[in-house]
């Protein structure tokens, strides 16, 4: 089949992720207001043309803070997925290609870590190195390594006995060259869809850690921390919770649909 129509899931997912990227870039270039500028006159201001999502308990513009928060979520997710993918590809690739005792040891450790929920692993790392944006990237990155390593390993094991690998070997290509120049591009489709799912998980985990106050530190905005602050004023201004929560849910939905769409395409 030459022309294949993209599924509806893929289109909606791509649009939502696209919107998220626009918000990220918008937040980097310039937010409408300073996300930390307080204004007592605007405390709990209702949504208006000037402040589309209203203002929070310090009179800060919620829309600007959401832009900054989405940016932070994006940075943390990219960092996390990068660590998870790169380390996962290295470990999984080595294990899958060489096998033997190295594989045995690494995969045993991997299984022990894999048994624990990623948010729990992240909490352990945070309790060792302290809270903060970059600490969260490291913590979640470490927590995501096992699942990537496992996937890449099984893919490398499948690919290494295919003819193209044997041909490359006969032509005198080194093991490293076969692994990363020949096998890796062939494993790409499988890795891609799990990278997108990785983003999905990273957004949920980052938001959770920030909600607990051990992620991005105030005054910098993050969606999780905004929800936790807004919860105090649930009676007074429920809208403060709704906006960051809905934005967060749409981001997660976007990545989930995109991942579905990509794996349906194969």
């Amino acid at each position: 089949m030459k022309k294949k129509r993209k599924s509806l899931n893929f289109i909606i997912g791509a649009v939502l992720v696209g919107l998220m990227l626009i918000m990220v870039v918008w937040g980097w270039i310039k937010t409408p207001y300073d996300p930390n500028a307080m204004n007592t006159a605007l405390k709990f201001a209702r949504p208006s043309l000037a402040h589309p999502f209203g203002c929070d308990n310090f009179g800060r513009d919620v829309f600007s803070r959401i832009l900054q928060g989405v940016g932070n979520t994006f940075i943390v997710s990219v960092g996390t997925v990068a660590i998870g993918t790169i380390v996962g590809i290295l470990l999984g690739g080595l294990c899958g290609y060489y096998g033997g005792w190295l594989d045995e040891i690494i995969m045993r450790c991997n299984d022990v870590i894999f048994a624990f929920p990623s948010i729990f692993m992240a909490l352990i790392v945070i309790s060792l190195i302290g809270p903060g944006k970059y600490q969260v990237i490291l913590a979640l990155g470490i927590a995501f390594v096992p699942s990537f390593a496992r996937l890449v390993r099984s893919e490398f094991m499948k690919q290494k006995n295919r003819d193209y690998c044997l041909a490359a070997e006969l032509m005198g290509a080194s093991s490293l060259r076969i692994m990363f120049v020949h096998i890796l591009p062939n494993a790409f489709p499988v890795i891609l869809s799990s990278v997108i799912i990785g983003f999905n998980n990273a957004v949920i985990a980052e938001a959770g850690l920030s909600y607990l106050g051990i992620g991005v530190q105030p005054p910098e905005a993050s969606l999780g921390a905004m929800l936790s602050d807004a919860q105090t004023f649930l009676y007074k201004d429920p809208l403060l919770c709704i906006f960051p929560g809905v934005v967060m849910a749409l981001m997660i939905l976007g990545f989930a649909l995109l991942a579905d769409g990509v794996s349906e395409d194969k």
């Binding site: 022990v112 624990f116 729990f120 909600y211 607990l212 929560g245 989930a256």
Partner: protein
């Protein structure tokens, strides 16, 4: 039986490795019980003397086994910031967290299996599509946001419970259960959605298989085929999912406890992390790790009971 013993042994080894890694990690970070007890003003001599007294300058492995064995006896050391023993701080907290997770689990099983079956009965029709769309939406709502929405709907608008008004099970079991239903729903929502999706695909994968045709040819009706044959096979991946979900919810309860202001182990863990109260953090990590490993073991056992093919090899 031999297999089970093997699994049990591997569970114990996993726990041993985890306990060793946790102890090692907390040993490597700067600052120990002596320095935290004396504060930053203490002279090096006094710190050294207290270290000697507390046995902190003994070799690493001696301290590790000492810690491990006292942990097994229920002595988890003393909190740095409160001076109380960790076990007294945690006493009575575990049942709160476990109740919440179990309630959520019961909800997941009770809701997702019928809905999953319903979706496949109407495959491709409106109901199936509606269930799929709702699933996709529910999966995207992180539990702490659904927790806030539930607080808004049931707590603020309908007044089915008082937000933040947690009642301990030691005071009033009825009110405790009534309060815990809502956090349990919040945890269950995304998991129900995932489970329905999984069960739906799993059942649909079974229908074209040979044994289904055989079952029909013997004169079974669709319902009989579904409940006696298809569902048994379709449940296998779902049980794996249940196991993962249980351990995931144990960890996720830390966040939900914060949303609903529940004084369970999650709350203590968070304050201890920010106070750098390492003995408490260590103890809670070990407790959660134990729960997770134990759940995985139970799932393995359950597998063998449900699927005779697993028993043979």
């Amino acid at each position: 039986m031999k297999q089970l013993l093997k699994k049990f042994a591997s569970m114990l080894i996993t726990l041993l490795i985890v306990s060793f890694l946790v102890f090692l990690a907390f040993d490597l970070i700067p600052g120990d019980a002596a320095t935290s007890k004396l504060g930053t003003q203490a002279t090096p001599e006094r710190v050294e003397a207290l270290r000697e007294q507390m046995g902190l300058n003994r070799p690493f492995f001696v301290r590790y086994f000492d810690w491990l064995f006292s942990f097994l006896r229920g002595d988890m050391g003393d909190s740095y910031s409160y001076g109380k023993s960790v076990s007294s701080m945690l006493a009575g907290k575990l049942p709160i967290t476990v109740t919440m997770v179990l309630m959520a689990f019961v909800l997941i099983v009770l809701v997702s299996i019928p809905v999953g079956i319903l979706a496949t009965r109407y495959q491709g029709k409106f109901l199936d599509r509606a269930i799929q769309v709702i699933n996709q939406l529910f999966m995207a709502i992180p539990p702490f946001f659904s927790g806030i929405i539930i607080t808004l709907i049931f707590g603020v608008a309908l007044r089915a419970f008082t937000p933040g008004g947690f009642v301990s099970y030691t005071k009033d079991v009825g009110k405790f259960i009534n309060y815990m239903i809502f956090p349990a729903i919040a945890i269950a929502i995304p998991k129900v959605a995932m489970c329905v999706k999984l069960l739906r695909t799993s059942i649909l994968e079974q229908w074209p298989q040979d044994y289904v045709r055989t079952a029909y040819s013997r004169g079974n009706r669709t319902m009989q085929v579904l409940y006696r044959h298809v569902l048994k096979n379709a449940m296998i991946p779902v049980i794996t999912f249940f196991g993962m979900t249980l351990s995931d919810m144990v960890a996720g309860s830390i966040i939900i406890e914060q949303v609903f202001n529940i004084p369970g182990i999650g709350r203590i863990l968070l304050t201890s992390i920010s106070n750098r109260d390492y003995p408490v953090v260590e103890a809670i990590i070990m407790l959660i790790a134990f729960l997770v490993v134990f759940i995985n073991f139970l799932v393995d056992v359950l597998y063998r009971i449900i699927d005779p093919r697993m028993r043979e090899n």
